[in-house]
């Protein structure tokens, strides 16, 4: 397999060759596990897992919508950002854990699919960016007056960051949907 793959391309870097080989052996190992065989053998499992995955992302996106609109002054005006974070942080964290677990189940059900597509790694990068950005934004807001005082002004930078954050999560959804349509890397196992 490897001799036709990314690793064998004349312009492939050492990193690409190594990463491809690692993904290939990971997919081969995962494909032999009983979890993988179970998910693949039961027709109802994958759509159920995907439904749960989508329901969990609604929690994260709803939280991002409320946070960005609060910082823009459109909703939750009487609420401090601190109070808002207490309401939405825990459900979002639980939802992200569910997203990771259901995502892993989907990969287990079809190990040769997602991880051999650029769009999957774009999605992972966007998720990492969204999580880092959210943590940074909330940490920065914590020292602002609006964390405690609902009437305090929100600095424009934070409004821009919050809207950016929402757009990143929507991009995560779009990238996720494209995993089902994108072409795998040349030479990737099927």
């Amino acid at each position: 397999m490897l001799d036709q793959g990314v690793g064998a391309r004349s312009d492939a870097t050492e990193f690409e060759t190594l990463a491809f080989a690692m993904l290939e052996s990971f997919a081969a190992w995962l494909g032999r596990t009983s979890l993988s065989n179970y998910v693949a053998s039961q027709a109802w499992v994958v759509p159920t897992v995907q439904t749960v995955h989508i329901l969990a992302i609604t929690v994260v996106v709803a939280s991002a919508v409320v946070l960005s609109l609060r910082l823009l002054g459109l909703v939750e005006r009487g609420q401090s950002v601190g109070a808002l974070t207490i309401r939405f942080a825990r459900p979002s964290i639980v939802a992200i854990v569910i997203l990771a677990l259901t995502g892993l189940l989907m990969i287990a059900g079809e190990p040769t699919r997602a991880i051999f597509r650029y769009v999957f790694w774009w999605k992972m990068a966007l998720i990492a960016l969204a999580i880092v950005l959210t943590s940074g934004l909330l940490a920065a807001l914590k020292v602002q007056a609006v964390w405690e005082d609902p009437q305090a002004p929100v600095p424009p930078l934070y409004r821009v960051l919050a809207v950016g954050l929402l757009l990143i999560w929507l991009a995560v959804i779009v990238a996720g949907r494209w995993i089902g349509y994108a072409q795998g890397w040349p030479g990737s196992p099927s």
Partner: protein
């Protein structure tokens, strides 16, 4: 002209052919559909969980609904438009799909539940801001709404697995 004729005619329109045969048009519209309905379901569940008394208890339910409804409707308009385009791409497939027809029924029921809520239950939610508990009818509306929307998402996902 029967409904079947209309579906057949729709299937042969240039728009339908384009959506169906292009490599990128269908997935692009579908991505927009999913991103929009995630906002629909997310904003609705905030309200439903408040009605059930499970979340946002510090907020007055009536105020929360007034704030979130414009978001729900804007996102719904985008999701419905994108959904209509997806339907135009494969009308013969979808009108023959149990899960597509089931999803439409569930959407209709969700709309009906929302209508009943706004006509009969919402006017009773005028208590003070600190009132945590909502009337039983409001809790029932919230529960039915959540259940129906979970069903809409599940049926929607099953459409993708049972048609091509």
């Amino acid at each position: 002209m029967t409904l079947a004729d209309l579906i057949n005619w729709l299937q042969d329109t240039p728009l339908s052919v384009t959506i169906r045969e292009s490599d990128w048009v269908f997935p692009t519209i579908e991505s927009i559909h999913v991103a929009a309905f995630v906002v629909v379901v997310g904003s609705i569940s905030i309200v439903d969980l408040r009605l059930l008394g499970l979340a946002s208890r510090s907020r007055n339910a009536d105020e929360l609904i007034r704030e979130l409804l414009p978001i729900t409707w804007s996102a719904f308009a985008i999701a419905a438009l994108a959904g209509a385009l997806l339907f135009i791409g494969k009308p013969l497939t979808y009108t023959a799909s149990f899960f597509f027809l089931g999803k439409m029924v569930l959407l209709l029921l969700a709309g009906l539940n929302m209508g009943v809520f706004h006509l009969f239950v919402h006017p009773r939610l005028d208590g003070p801001a600190d009132r945590v508990a909502t009337p039983l009818a409001a809790r029932a509306s919230g529960f039915v709404s959540l259940a129906l929307w979970v069903g809409v998402v599940a049926f929607g996902r099953w459409i993708g697995f049972t048609t091509n």
